[in-house]
Subunit: 298 residues, 2 copies
């Protein structure tokens, strides 16, 4: 297992390249009537300051299976739209009640609550419309498998179910590391898993190695989020910090302590990189992604 | 054009039969962990007092194209779940702020706002999961066409876009019959159109006749709704009445007057029935559906 090292500089450049491609594609695909309030809100919701990490995972995983970027980028754009819908709804007053997202007003603050609810609904629906479009893949059974996998990842058993558990924890709280981890596997892990399986699906297969990789980096990502929430300022993160602490909701850091949390995240990244062994040097960019996930500053 | 007449009694019996089948199927398909708050809310949102008119249209249209009920009922169940999500979100305080739906507490009143938002998100996602499931149709390209058609009908160009226009009318108001009609074509008409095209899609075709039928009954349905809103009591409808009048929002009845509204609705039903001519006596149940749409008391 010697993976040709991808430097942090090479990784950041590639991350930026894919993000630009995703942004251009979302701009081309999203409905675009300037005077239309809903369409304006949907475009605002996906506006371009995110890292586009999920589409990046789709594109890099897909390359390992010989899938052209032109196809995988469309899946990445659909996934990013769905991710953005979840942020819009999570930010609502009835949910996390956040005013800032990536340093800018959240959709319901920029527009209003009704528009934010509908813009989220529109983005979720848009994601499936893009996946089902023949331009995404020539084979209908592949498009269908993508729709099914994303619906399962995003639905009651996955992301939406995880968000419900997270909200319930505001009153019930979490009782263990395992309980938070189970919630996070659904709330954020399911989309990471989809991101890493989309490439294999587009090649008509599945990848156990990428499934393990996705699970490890998904959990590492969340632990890193909790660490950043303690150690960063709102100015750096572009959103409110220490929200969980303020409402007394337990985090990974609470159960592990700061030092052990960092060790745990590092261990998960090592396991994620080890899972990439079958791909050899081709997986250098995914290995760099895993390392980046706990090294990022926001 | 002599359609074998289906009596109102025969129609009501058939409507009830299909509704029961849809309810059983939704019960079997929806995730079912009793202690899961989200799943409980999703089940509450689709609970069984609706007429299940959209699935009825799917099943009856599909029969004209030789599609088995076992397949069309699954599409009907998916469509009904999506319709119910739209009701849950429309009822939210930030939208129509309704406490009652079909005579029972709306989801955000029975549970809470966060749960209602997530239950709606879950039902929308569930609809696509059901359509993409191989059990819905053996051919992947058919399932894919269903996903694409439903996403287009429910998204920013269709239902969600129409709801945005309707909400904006609370401040801007409508200036003409044509403007309300354009909003309704998106807000409710798009799902009626999908309901009537799903059968042809499942048979690998399309139907211009059913498209015209769907557009006519969709508009007639909305005019009838406005008429009912004036003439019925909250006790009969199971929801608040005269909401539009109370907030000064123009309705079809305002632009046409009550008598002309009734004449218009009747004319649309006649045109809908005329569009069924190519199907002959086989379309008796769809003709009865069109007549029912303006004869219903709620």
């Amino acid at each position: 297992l010697i993976l040709a090292p991808v430097s942090p500089q090479e990784f950041e450049a590639e991350l930026g390249t894919v993000a630009t491609a995703v942004n251009l594609l979302l701009d081309a695909l999203l409905p675009d009537i300037a005077a239309d309030r809903l369409q304006a809100a949907m475009r605002y919701a996906v506006r371009g300051h995110g890292k586009r990490l999920r589409p990046f995972l789709v594109v890099q995983s897909a390359r390992l299976f010989g899938v052209a970027d032109g196809l995988s980028l469309r899946v990445g754009a659909a996934l990013e739209a769905l991710h953005c819908y979840s942020l819009v709804h999570d930010d609502l007053p009835a949910m996390d009640n956040d005013d800032l997202r990536r340093g800018q007003a959240t959709v319901h603050r920029k527009f209003d609550e009704a528009t934010a609810i509908l813009a989220g609904d529109g983005l979720l629906t848009f994601a499936f419309e893009v996946l089902a479009d023949p331009a995404t893949h020539p084979a209908a059974d592949v498009r269908n498998a993508l729709v099914l996998a994303l619906a399962q990842a995003a639905g009651a058993h996955g992301m939406v179910g995880g968000q419900m558990v997270d909200i319930e924890a505001e009153t019930k709280n979490f009782s263990s590391y395992a309980e938070i981890a189970a919630m996070q596997r659904r709330k954020t892990g399911a989309l990471f898993s989809f991101a890493c399986q989309a490439g294999p699906i587009m090649a008509g297969t599945a990848s156990g190695a990428l499934q393990i990789y996705a699970e490890k980096i998904g959990l590492a990502f969340q632990i890193a989020d909790d660490i950043l929430d303690v150690e960063s300022s709102a100015a750096t993160l572009g959103k409110a910090t220490q929200k969980d602490q303020k409402m007394g909701k337990a985090t990974f850091v609470d159960f592990l302590g700061m030092e052990k949390a960092k060790t745990e995240a590092q261990g998960l990244v090592s396991e994620a990189v080890a899972a990439l062994t079958p791909f050899g040097d081709d997986a250098g960019m995914l290995a760099a992604t895993a390392r980046y996930i706990i090294a990022r500053r926001k």
